[in-house]
């Protein structure tokens, strides 16, 4: 993956707009967070292969970035995005990695279902 280039990410988001797309969205602090620090409140969310269509999508912020997609009846949103990749299957992979290189958030958009 590469460090976010806002223009290239925005272009990719635009290319995938107004199409049926599959979404992978996750946030995570890792399953061990509360084990190592009992004062830590562990939380996360995960959705894979949600089929949506968005009319407008934007990447905003100064980095780490935010990405929001306005879908038919609501919204998809991710915060903390640091890296992106257009993979060989034409999928837009966005991820936020913390300072130790651990994934903290991922938002991926594809015209075909994820494995």
């Amino acid at each position: 993956m590469e460090v976010v280039d806002v223009n290239r990410v925005q272009e990719a988001i635009n290319q995938l707009a107004n199409k049926d797309v599959y979404i992978h969205l996750e946030t995570t602090n890792g399953a061990y967070a509360s084990h190592y620090d009992q004062t830590f409140f562990s939380a996360g969310a995960y959705i894979r292969n949600a089929l949506v269509r968005y009319e407008i999508g934007k990447i905003t912020g100064d980095g780490p970035y935010r990405v929001g997609l306005k879908i038919n009846l609501g919204w998809v949103y991710a915060e903390g995005i640091t890296h992106f990749e257009m993979d060989p299957q034409g999928r837009l992979l966005l991820a936020g990695h913390d300072y130790k290189g651990k994934l903290a958030v991922a938002l991926e958009i594809s015209t075909t279902p994820f494995d």
Partner: protein
């Protein structure tokens, strides 16, 4: 270490076998005991991507599959089963389906020893759900036919609640194999190992005790 007929190891993630159990696995294999490792997922939700990232969410499972196969080869495991479930979803699968999955492995392999996580004392929800499925499968068997179950526990309260582990395997003779197995899971272990390298070089007593001893709790069935 007692000579077994067949050892079945059931864990949810590639690398679960490496840290706490690989010395025990290597020792059984050296003793000529067949070992089957059923690894339920490919650790698809692993978080170590590197900085700068060396992979992404979609490619990680392919890397971890290769690492798992390499770790198995290192330890001499000839029967590695990748069960095709998805990381972080084990506890949400149908319980009966999970029990049956384990029952069919036990039926096929007739192990004298099963190694898994201690349900409720293994921190990660996948660990606990995997251990629970194994316990349910073994519990269904007539008491006399049951394999021994050795559980790995490491929650903060495990010793307080379960008492001290009743099985401690000293695996010093195969600790090089164990380190190689840990190293095989490079995407997950490289950073940890880098921190430990110096201590290993200096034979730091605490690290050596951790490396050379693998502890298990024998599961006690109610009836």
């Amino acid at each position: 270490m007692k000579k077994e007929r067949h050892v079945l190891v059931v864990f949810p993630h590639p690398d679960d076998e490496a840290f706490g159990v690989s010395g025990t696995i290597a020792t059984h294999i050296k003793n000529g005991t067949p070992v089957t490792y059923a690894c339920l997922t490919l650790g698809e939700m692993g978080r170590n991507m590197g900085n700068p990232p060396f992979t992404n969410r979609e490619e990680l499972p392919k890397i971890r599959k290769k690492e798992l196969m390499e770790a198995a080869r290192t330890l001499g495991i000839q029967d590695l089963r990748m069960m095709g479930l998805r990381d972080k979803t084990i506890e949400f699968e149908d319980d009966d389906k999970m029990t049956n999955l384990i029952s069919s492995l036990i039926e096929e392999l007739n192990p004298s020893l099963v190694i898994t996580f201690y349900p409720g004392y293994a921190v990660h929800p996948d660990h606990n759900a995997t251990g629970a499925a194994v316990i349910r499968a073994v519990e269904k068997m007539p008491a006399a036919a049951r394999p021994t179950v050795h559980c790995v526990a490491f929650s903060n309260d495990c010793v307080e609640k379960l008492g001290e582990a009743d099985i401690i395997n000293n695996i010093t003779p195969v600790n090089e194999l164990k380190l190689a197995a840990i190293k095989a899971h490079r995407s997950q272990t490289e950073a940890t190992l880098a921190d430990m390298e110096e201590k290993l070089k200096n034979q730091d007593p605490q690290v050596m005790v951790w490396l050379n001893n693998e502890r298990f709790w024998t599961y006690k069935f109610d009836k």
